[in-house]
Amino acid sequence: MKGAHVPYFLGLLVALVGFWLGMSGHYTPLLLSLGAVSVAVCLILAYRLDIIDREGSPYVRIVGFALYFPWLMKEIAKANWTVVKACLKAEMDIAPALVKVKTACESDLAKVTFANSITLTPGTVTVEIEGDKMLVHALYEQEAQPEAFAEMDRRSRRAADGKGGPA
């Protein structure tokens, strides 16, 4: 294993151990050793699959994502309200549109974060990604101008890539 992979490896280790401890609830020696074995098997399989890298173990960026998530929740709550109103209005006033959104995200992780954020926000779904352009289907044409996604783009880029672009 190359030295550069050690943080990702440790991140995955901590995440798997934490997940196992959180799921099990039985802390007897037998079950703990079984847990250790399953964590070891997972790590070996991940290493064999060659996925212990920036994407397979994004825990080094956990602070960035933790800062991004509350803002995303706020956006989701706001968008939810819009779509709930659209669902319940007697006179339906939706105006669906397909919009092309250009993203400044460079790494795949940042693009996935941005695309998933768009899809998670009710009223907008990422239909297709090609290079740095995303095809977004939106429930309201007027709310899906490319500028509306600029802040989400900027924030998800910072969450996944840090301030200075790809790490």
Binding site: N80, V83, L88, M92, P96, P122, V125
Partner: protein, 123 residues
């Protein structure tokens, strides 16, 4: 100070069940609203938007309510894991469905949708 904390803990024990139940009820209501939207919206892509209410706010409120009523921290950690996995997988599945429809050539309705139901006939 200790007294105050004890009062706070007792108060929390009293209100957490009504509060959790109310949150669960609100989440269930949002799921119903998502379903209503799913039935009312005109085409595949717009229906996907209605389904995402159920995925996000509905699921969040339900899990939050359940976490408040949880008997111990073990349950809370499991609900937290469910929350994380829902938020990681639901956009992926929505995107997969939308992308498959787009690739297959399904054209979305564009522009203002007029859905005045004619008398005795679905739009």
């Amino acid at each position: 100070m200790a007294d105050f904390l004890a009062t706070l803990a007792t108060g929390w024990e009293v209100i957490r069940f009504p509060l959790g139940a109310a949150l669960c009820l609100a989440g269930a209501l949002l799921c119903v609203i998502g379903t209503v939207g799913m039935l009312r919206f005109p085409d595949f892509y717009t229906r996907l938007h209605a389904a995402s209410i159920t995925d996000t706010s509905g699921a969040t409120l339900l899990l939050l309510g359940m976490a408040m009523m949880a008997p111990d921290w073990m349950v809370v950690s499991k609900l937290g894991a469910i929350f994380i996995f829902i938020y990681l997988t639901s956009p992926a599945s929505s995107h997969a469905a939308a992308n498959a429809a787009h690739t297959a050539g399904l054209q979305p309705l564009i522009g203002p949708v007029d859905t005045h139901d004619k008398e005795g006939q679905d739009s």
